[in-house]
Symmetry: C2
């Protein structure tokens, strides 16, 4: 059965998935880059950045598992870029250059329709302006038997959690405080929605939690 | 220099320091007991419960350090008991029986004045109805050169954090979700108040964070 998954989503000790004031210069919001320190050095991400080496181990295993068997992604508009409101032109094609690391269909939630963008390496960005259920339906059709990964940000994940549409969520808590930004848990009563912590794995750099939905 | 400290304060992954609906039967709120699993089995707490044995190690070290050099405590009204509003009589003397584990002056924040209660073992409960600063002044006078421990709950800690009066806060994050209850970080921008994570120590049972104020 195809699963809907969140993977390698980093949060601060005080529960923020990104800092405030996201911009072209600060894609993760102010202070938000620190959330991902546990991930940057892993072999899987280093390889994506075109570099050899990098650390293996638990952190890397989580990163790797997050990419396994994924047939489509769903991203919130802000994960795709810093532009708000209507698209001024067709120039912005995501943060990731010519060859984004998705290599499959990526559905971007937005209020502003736009033509799909085929990129190098098999990624195609699609823009879905009729809501989270429509995006998931399209992602499921595109993924066929494979899993769907909800990439974020926090607001997008919260919407899918509230609709009980996420089967499995891996979060990594980094040892820093952000104080403000995008809260992952705000207004989401996870136990009430049927979610619980299935697994906890602390490493030197982060505490990993696997949160699953009881069926 | 005398310090104002929070120690061994447990929170859930989603940031709650107690469950909802505290009552005589559920002093930590519904589901809140699970927050403290990392602590119950330690040698220091087992000894307090009058039992031999118990685990030593990092969890126990944190519990032990939390009691070291403490000259006075401050507790929110709800940490002292489940009664809300005016005291119906003088019967309620805390959750802890005749010999509470404080062995020093304990200042309870309340809107409802009440005479001090001397208990066995050196604990005296005092009731402070003129605010958190007055309580801290009295605690400092009582503690002399020793430290003050803010015992909780979450709302009391938040007030002292917002007033930048806490020097050091040890929290232990337990691997469970509460969904609702007493949030520790709500509306508190710790970095803006000068706080940061000075230390992180994960154990099998919890992730410990030492949060300190930059001077």
């Amino acid at each position: 059965m195809s699963k809907v998954r969140v993977a390698s989503f980093s949060i601060s000790v005080d529960g923020f998935g990104a800092g405030p004031n996201q911009s072209l210069k600060e894609p993760m919001g102010v202070g938000g880059m620190g959330l991902h320190q546990w991930a940057f050095g892993t072999r899987t991400l280093q390889k994506m950045f075109g570099r050899d080496g990098g650390a293996t181990g638990v952190d890397d295993d989580f990163i790797q598992r997050g990419f396994e068997n994924i047939g489509a992604w769903i991203l919130g508009r802000n994960m795709f870029g810093p532009i708000r409101g209507a698209w001024p032109d067709e120039q912005w094609k995501g943060w990731w250059g010519d060859t984004p690391p998705y290599h499959c269909d990526v559905f971007v939630l937005t209020h502003h329709a736009r033509a799909s963008i085929p990129m190098e390496g098999g990624t195609t960005f699609h823009f879905v302006s009729d809501g989270i259920h429509a995006a998931l339906d399209r992602a499921k059709a595109a993924a066929s038997e494979k899993d769907i990964r909800i990439g974020g940000g926090a607001a997008t994940i919260r919407q899918y959690l509230q609709a009980k549409l996420i089967d499995e969520m891996h979060i990594a808590e980094s040892p820093l405080l952000l104080g403000t930004g995008e809260p992952l848990f705000a207004g989401v009563n996870l136990p009430e929605l049927g979610y619980s912590v299935a697994k906890r794995v602390p490493t030197e750099a982060a505490t990993h939690y696997l949160i699953t939905k009881d069926h």
